[in-house]
Structure formats: structure tokens, C-alpha cells
Amino acid sequence: MEGCRLAVNDLACRRGDRVLFRGLSFELNAGEALQVVGPNGSGKSSLLRIVAGLLRPLVGSVDLQGPVGLVDERPALDEHLPLGRALAFWGRIDGGGFISWESASDRLGVTGVLDVPVQYLSTGQRKRAALTRLLSQQATVWLLDEPLNGLDTAMARECERLVAHHCGVGGIALIASHQPFDVTGLKAIAIEDYAP
């Protein structure tokens, strides 16, 4: 996991006619985690999508080194397939991460629903499945968009432990969430401070 780095320099983002934030800069080195807080619609998700390279910033640049893992509100799992087969597809795409998706699903408690089609899973179970994929992916830079949404209290703590462990072994985590996220050494920025 050495050598991963995320630097955001003087970033501004526009959605439609509105500038959501401007002049946003931060830098994360190996082992660091940052939580982006702010009310709904303040641009947290847009920031994550810009960092992931899915949106173009209005101005500014993103310097990202290391493979990226993204978890957002869309799990990208085939709805009609049993969860196990939907995860196996990503397992083949990712070609084996630090741990296999089978053991990752054990860690996140979805082994019991691996034969259930994704369309019958609850919000929380889908989130767990997305985290399973993230865990079994060789990603050093984690981008988590509202990772605690839909998770029960125990699983939310587990998610925090996963992030803590990921940073402990030298990964980077960027978390967009309006909920408190309890990880030691977690830095935080309030995105509304950068509103124009």
C-alpha cells in the first residue's frame, strides 16, 4: 500500500448553474483519513466523484496515486442475480484482492444472503455487499459516500473498524458523511466553509 497519495488543489465544482464549492484544497498521505461533512446538497458526493475522476471540476486539479475503490448509493450489482454470483462477477474483474470476496462477505455478515437475488435485499444489505466488494478489491484509496446509510449500529461500528484498519495498513480513506464517523486520527473538513 506504499506510495498512495491524494492531493486536491484549489478545487471548484459547478452543478447546473450553481457553484457548490471553490478553493478547496487538502492532501492525504498513506494512512490518513478525512471526513467531509456538510448538509445535503453541499457538494460532498460531487467532491468524491471529482476525486474518482467521474466528474470534471470547474477549476483545480486532483493528484491521485493508487488504485481507487468507490462505494456510493448505487451498489452496481445485477438485480436479478443471486448476491453471490453478482459479487463473483466483480471478483473476476478485480482478479483477487487482498482477501477474497468470500471471506470479505463473511466479515460483513452477508454469507447468509449470498443465494438471495439482489433485488430482494434491503438497503443495509446492499451497502454491506458494496463494502464486501470494496474489501476484496485491491484499492488503496477508499472513497466512501455516506457509508453508514442503511447500516445498523453494530455494522456501522464494523465499518468504522474497517476504515481504521485500512488506514492502519497504509491506505487512504475519504469519507463523505453527515453522520459522525468515529475513527481515531480522522481529520474533517466542513464543505460549507468553501461555499462561494
Binding site: R74, A76, D78, H80, W90, I93
Partner: protein, 219 residues
Amino acid sequence: MSAVGTLLRRDLAQMFGGGRRGGAVLPVLFFVATAMLFPFAVGPDPVLLAKAGGGIVWIAALLAAILPLDRLLAPDLEQGFFDQFAVRGIAEEAVVAVRLVAHWLSFGPPLMLAALPAAALLGLHGDTLRTVEWGLLGGTPGLAAIGLMIAALTVSLRAGAALAGLLLIPLAVPLLIFGAGALSTGGQSGLALTAAISLLLCAITPFAGGAAIRAAREG
């Protein structure tokens, strides 16, 4: 390379496996049904049917190409598949190219098979049937490519499905002119031109489709 194989397997399983994409069966049934309607509408005159039959098969193929358009790309974009591919460094162009192969495999060969019962219903045989089959072999990749390109361009539109059908018809006219035209001229030049247009369309589609998907993501 393994990623391409995995993508192709998923696409084919979805298209042939009765998945949410409507599968390969629906366009084929629609194709045969359209060909079946003509003798009822214009009467059972064998001379007339044999003269118009080849063109009817082509129109049926063109209309059948419209059916699967709204399921080709939109579900994957909505469910975030393209985002997950992008963060893994898998280009949209590659995904679209793989989907083009899978879409043609689920559309072209089944349609060529279905052209046999359709030809029987219209009383086509011999040289005419052979020209129709060669024409479909040359033309269906082009129809699949146009369809996929339109699906990518209309992927973020609310009324995309209806618009896709309207867009496909004029764009498919060159294929129809040369493909069905080969029936009346009897020459092979029409078939060659149909295949050439298909080749060109297949070459453009991954790039046009990839750019359209990235643009849809920005919107």
C-alpha cells in the same frame, strides 16, 4: 484481457439468459410476427409476396432492432456499473465494444435463423432467400451498432426509448437501401456495400458510445 472475457460473459448471460434486458427472444418473435402479418394484409398472391418478400424481411429486421434499445445501456448506468468500471480503469469504449459484440450475437444470428420461417411464410426460396440471408449477415452488425450508439446517446433522456426508435429508422436507411436493393439488382455489390457500412458503423460505435456515456455522467 480477462476483464474483457468477464464482461462478455456477463453481457451474453444477460442477453440470452432471460435476464432483465428482455433477452434475444423478443426481437426474434417480433420479427417473425411482422413477416407473418404481411400475407394477411396484402393477400396470399404468391407473385406479389415473392416480389415484396425480401423487402418485408428487411423492414421486419429493422423494426426488431428497435426493441432491445432501452435495455442495452441504461440499467448499467443507473446502477453505477460504468462508475465502478471507470475507477478500475476499464474504459467506456471497451465496455461498449464488448456490448456491441454481445448485442450482435444475441440479435444477428437468431434473426438469420428466424428469417427461414419468415421466408417460408412469404414464399421466398432459392436465390432470393440466399440474398436475404447474406444481406442480413452483412447488415445486422450495422443495425446492432446503430442501436447501441443511439442507446448511448439517449441514455440520460427521460423519453429515451421512444426517441431511440425514431432515431434508428432514418439512420438505418442506407443499410436498408443497399441490403434490400441487392434483391432487385441481384448483384453482390449491394451486399458488399451493406457490409462496408456495417463495418464503418461498428468501428465508430465504441468511441461514440464511450463519449456519450461520459457526457451522460457529467449531466
